[in-house]
Symmetry: C2
Subunit: 210 residues, 2 copies
């Protein structure tokens, strides 16, 4: 896909570099020359432009792109940039919001996905705080989720079946070893350092010590 | 747990409110009076203080807390606040970083977990961009993940077994309906609006249209 990233704060920079690593064609735009110079070595196509300037975006070929992501925080520039993408008829438009009010406004003007990384990070970390060995967490419902665990050293060499607990909703879904994912791993398998254990369960059960 | 949140930006505010909703005792601190006044109605314990002032934190009882989270962006205040938490012997210290260099610095001075919400959000959204119906995504390895799908209307009434594809690594792990999670759901079950489908698979297979 051809994707324009408008605004290169921390979110925009990570998004642009990850998308390019995944094989997409990325055009990364920012008005700040220093910002663009710093990231230019890591990206194929960058440009210094004001994203509130429709003609500037047109000159850069943004009208031909599949997706536009507006990733500046400043509300006025952000909303004007969204409107420019619509004028350029970019079919898919996503934007970062800096508050719930801003998020609602963006949805109303037709942004298909609104991202609030700080808010989502705060929600996710509130779950992670209760899971000392968890590396990451995905919420599935109000009180149920998936947690990725790095096993503590005392579990090395312990078999997976010793982790099972019939009284608990916690279930081992997968084992990740050497970047390979094993779904419903064999219970006699023993845990190694650098393994990742993927559990699903009610949040309270996920907090149980392994 | 008793948790002190130092710095009430978007991340800190969401973290403090989510932790309190989960039943923890939260003390939310910021130097900016307006910020604290705005959030005070939503939280039990808030305080106006400079987190770089060790005595101020001591007076607030932070030394008795289980966890301290430093969630300001400004590097100097952030690092000084971490050091204060260490002087107050708070056993578990987490902090938000605003760059990889800042993150490395924090790990070196003993912060047990470093959070970079904008960077993590950028990584996650780079995956989500390729998954039009996905609501959220969790990366398990370099090219394998778990995606939460909201089924499009054309799938309402379709049975789950029609989603299976033996040529693909994509597998349906769970169905979420009415806030209840069903692991390995019965394949004859039919999809309803408001269901969530939880798939695991290689990223390329997750992009296949349902
Ligand atoms: N009109 C504009 N045209 C182009 N770039 C812009 C414009 N307005 C702001 N930017 C750029 O957007 C970038 C990100 O904006 P800002 O720093 O406000 O967001 P942020 O919320 O701090 O980002 P993040 O949280 O992702 O780090 C900055 O590099 C800035 O130069
Ligand atoms: N020394 C300090 N003592 C107390 N609070 C502080 C101090 N320094 C900064 N803060 C507070 O930290 C809060 C968040 O800081 P800042 O806005 O720099 O972070 P941010 O990265 O924009 O946050 P977010 O991305 O989570 O919205 C602000 O409300 C600010 O008042």
């Amino acid at each position: 896909m051809q994707i324009a990233v408008l605004g290169l704060g921390r979110f925009g920079i990570q998004l642009a570099t990850s998308l390019e690593e995944e094989g997409h064609e990325v055009l990364a735009i920012d008005a700040n020359e220093t910002v663009v110079q710093n990231i230019a070595p890591r990206l194929t196509k960058t440009a210094i432009a004001d994203i509130t300037d429709e003609q500037a975006l047109r000159d850069l070929g943004v009208a031909n792109m599949d997706v536009g992501v507006v990733s500046t925080a400043v509300i006025e520039a952000n909303v004007l940039a969204v409107m420019n993408l619509q004028l350029l008829e970019v079919p898919t438009i996503y934007a970062k919001a800096q508050s719930s009010r801003h998020a609602t406004m963006l949805s109303r003007i037709g942004v298909q996905r609104v991202i609030e990384p700080e808010k989502e990070g705060g929600l996710r970390f509130a779950h992670l705080i209760r899971l000392p060995h968890a590396k990451d967490y995905l919420s599935l419902s109000r009180d149920y989720g998936i947690a990725i665990y790095e096993p503590p050293p005392r579990l090395y060499g312990v078999s997976l079946e010793q982790l099972d607990d019939d009284g608990s909703t916690r279930r081992l879904l997968m084992l990740v070893r050497d970047n390979e994912v094993h779904v419903n791993p064999v219970r006699s398998e023993t845990i190694k350092a650098a393994d990742l254990l993927i559990f699903a369960g009610e949040d309270d059960d996920l907090t149980e010590t392994l």
